[in-house]
């Protein structure tokens, strides 16, 4: 007797009971994870928001309730807050756009069935596996004005007439940071887009070719619509992650020179551990969090990248 036939013989009441038991068991299995996530994600957020209403010294557990005082100070009397917010925006938009601009053509190239393509795909994804501290050290050395390969290379080919201070000049520090950061994280977008590209049926391209479509038209009318949602999703994710980025900025410039790369996360760190004002740092973190939530919700409403999952 097959299993399907056997199940047919089981009375409906038993079916219902099993289904009900399944739900209970499923819930029980999920409960630890839900509790754990609540504890490690939800609770710290609530804790941070609550404590942003207090004046707390980083090196002192004393707390004085100041209501919205920390917020008023930040928004009304701290030009560095607005300046660092703008720099975070610059860094996030610059990084995301650069990563996208490099990742999409790379993914399209890697999608072709060429000899050695598996090796090329592995190499393209390699930067994502390198720890950020290593990437930071690598770019520090490559970007060194006296000894770095980039500065010397540009001078050798006559594009510059002296050392280039990538991370030591107000003009170049932010663009250099964006490039260093994008070098590592472009691989993430390549992975996402490549995965989507590989799910496009070959027949779509064959049909386009039969209609006489050029390579550009095939890209525009077949590839692009298919990867649109994944690109939108990636834009949201990368935008948020880049807005929150701290590690590579701290490793490469520590927010300098002259605060040229002090983005909001870097400034929050400085408030907490240089100025020792934990309450104010928590208020700035809360503002950053709210900003990203609002931007995320608006973005999801406008573009609905979740439909990617449904298509």
């Amino acid at each position: 007797m097959s299993i399907a036939r056997f199940i047919d013989y089981i009375p409906q009441s038993v079916h219902d009971r099993v289904e009900s038991d399944d739900r209970i068991i499923g819930t029980l299995f999920l409960l630890p994870v839900v509790l754990l996530v609540s504890f490690v994600v939800f609770l710290p957020v609530v804790w941070a928001v609550y404590n942003s209403l207090f004046d707390i010294g980083t090196l002192n557990p004393e707390r004085n309730f100041v209501a919205l005082g920390n917020y008023v100070d930040l928004l009304g009397a701290d030009p560095m807050f607005w300046s660092s917010l703008w720099k975070a925006f610059y860094f996030a938009v610059g990084s995301t756009l650069l990563q996208l601009a490099v990742a999409v053509p790379t993914a399209v190239l890697l999608n072709k069935e060429l000899r050695g393509i598996a090796v090329a795909r592995a190499i393209a994804l390699l930067p994502y596996l390198i720890p950020t501290i290593v990437v930071g050290m690598m770019f520090t050395w490559m970007g060194h004005p006296e000894l770095g390969v980039v500065s010397n290379g540009l001078e050798d080919i006559g594009l510059t007439d002296g050392p280039m201070y990538f991370f030591g000049s107000e003009r170049w520090a932010m663009p250099a940071l964006i490039v260093a950061n994008s070098w590592k994280f472009t691989a993430f977008i390549v992975m996402m887009v490549l995965a989507r590209l590989q799910s496009i049926p070959e027949s779509h391209y064959e049909a386009a070719q039969m209609c006489g479509a050029s390579a550009w038209r095939q890209f525009r009318d077949v590839t692009l619509p298919n990867i649109r949602n994944v690109v939108l999703l990636v834009l949201l994710l990368r935008g948020i992650w880049m807005f929150n980025k701290f590690d590579i900025i701290w490793i490469l410039t520590r927010g300098g020179p002259a605060n040229a790369t002090t983005t909001l996360p870097v400034y929050i760190y400085e408030i907490a551990f240089t100025q020792y004002r934990m309450g104010t740092a928590l208020a700035a973190s809360t503002l950053l969090f709210l900003l990203l939530v609002v931007a995320g919700v608006l973005y999801l409403r406008a573009f609905d990248p979740a439909s990617e999952v449904e298509t």
Partner: protein
Amino acid sequence: MRSSHTGGSPRKSGATSEFKNRRTFLKGSVATVAGIGLAGCSSNGDGNGSNGSGSNGGGDEAEIHVVTGETNQAAKQWFDRMANQFMQETGIAVTMDYSSLSPTERISTLIQTGNTPELATLDTGQAAQLAFRDQLAGVSELVGTFEDEYGGDVPDNVRLQMDGTDYTVPLWTNPTQVWYWSDVYEEYGLESSAALTWEEYQEIAAEINSDDMYGTVVPSATSSLSSFTFWNFLTSNGGSVASRSDGDVQIALDQGDNKARAVETVEYLNELHEYSPRASDFEWGDILQSFVSRNSAHSIYGPRAKLQVINNTPERKGEVRPHFPVHNGTEQFINNGGGWVLLDGAEYKDEARQFIEFTVRQNRLVDFLTSVAPVHNFPTIAEIAEMDEYRNSEFISENFRERDLEIVQESFEKGISWGGETEPYNQYGPSLFTSQELGTLLYNVNISGKDPEQAVSDTAGRLRDVLSNLQE
């Protein structure tokens, strides 16, 4: 167990109580999640958690928690050895907490989570941050013990004192010198004495400066190294950042004669910058790297420049020598230093005092000073530097000339601390240094091309804001 008791003054008790409630809440949450969510997986089921965070059932075995940022191998070996020997001698456990981040960040985390450590090793600037916020216990009697042990005085220029109370036991000091490549001097036929005038130093830098090697390095970044450089040269010009008026600390950078000295210092460093890499992003590691790789002929720092050469190109170690530039007869630079601090909110303060005493007795400290960045970490008591165990220790006798040691000692004896500009000690001095505003001053003049006089005035204004925040 470290959570059942927190010391401190009555003023703090309210906050501590509130704090305990937070901890209770967190502990309760952890227990709930562990009990409900992880039942049968990893909990031991007794709800007490692990890692000693729960009750110890009434027993109260002391355990000293020590935070240090000294994370190199030699330092770790010394601290581990001290902890083990102390445990064997007293039965009191010592937990070493090596923090690769700034130790004050680690301490702040521990304070905020109610696990205030007993001890830490901090430099004077970091210690001042804690002392300001009433987080340190006085250790004057331990400084006395330290002095008695070695038969000498701990000078004021390495002490952190507030209202006559010491808040550090200064174990080492990092006096400043300028280190140079003597073979390069010989190549150019240049002479050097222990103390060069500013003009002589500038002439030498100009002479050496070439496509192959910079004459010197003038760090010009928003960094502690640049702040350090400016403050050192300002000091050697007889100027000061702060002064006292009617007992109150005030910013003196743009006041009276002092402003002229500050402007002169900035202008001098701006001229010197002509023989330096741009250095607009230089921190401590960069200046060492520039010197060790012979990209520049000088390094303003301490003996660490020589230690780096010993590590990287030992065959050249004999070619690295110190001097210090002076101006208008002022032979004075800055001393930074570091040592033990005792956290006031810690549970086992008496045991921690015993541990401090243990580490400075019976030449154990000499062992530290001859193995952890020797000479760069210079003894704070002159008598230690004279001891046979110190002078004739293998590393020092093999690598440092007698004259080098004398110059280091001289610069230490003549040096002042960040807070030593005023009498009594300016407790805000270390914080004015860590604000990095003085480094920004060099950046603004040497990189952004701002007018020195205006830049000094602007910097003084920003330092007043820093000071006013500290005084609130």
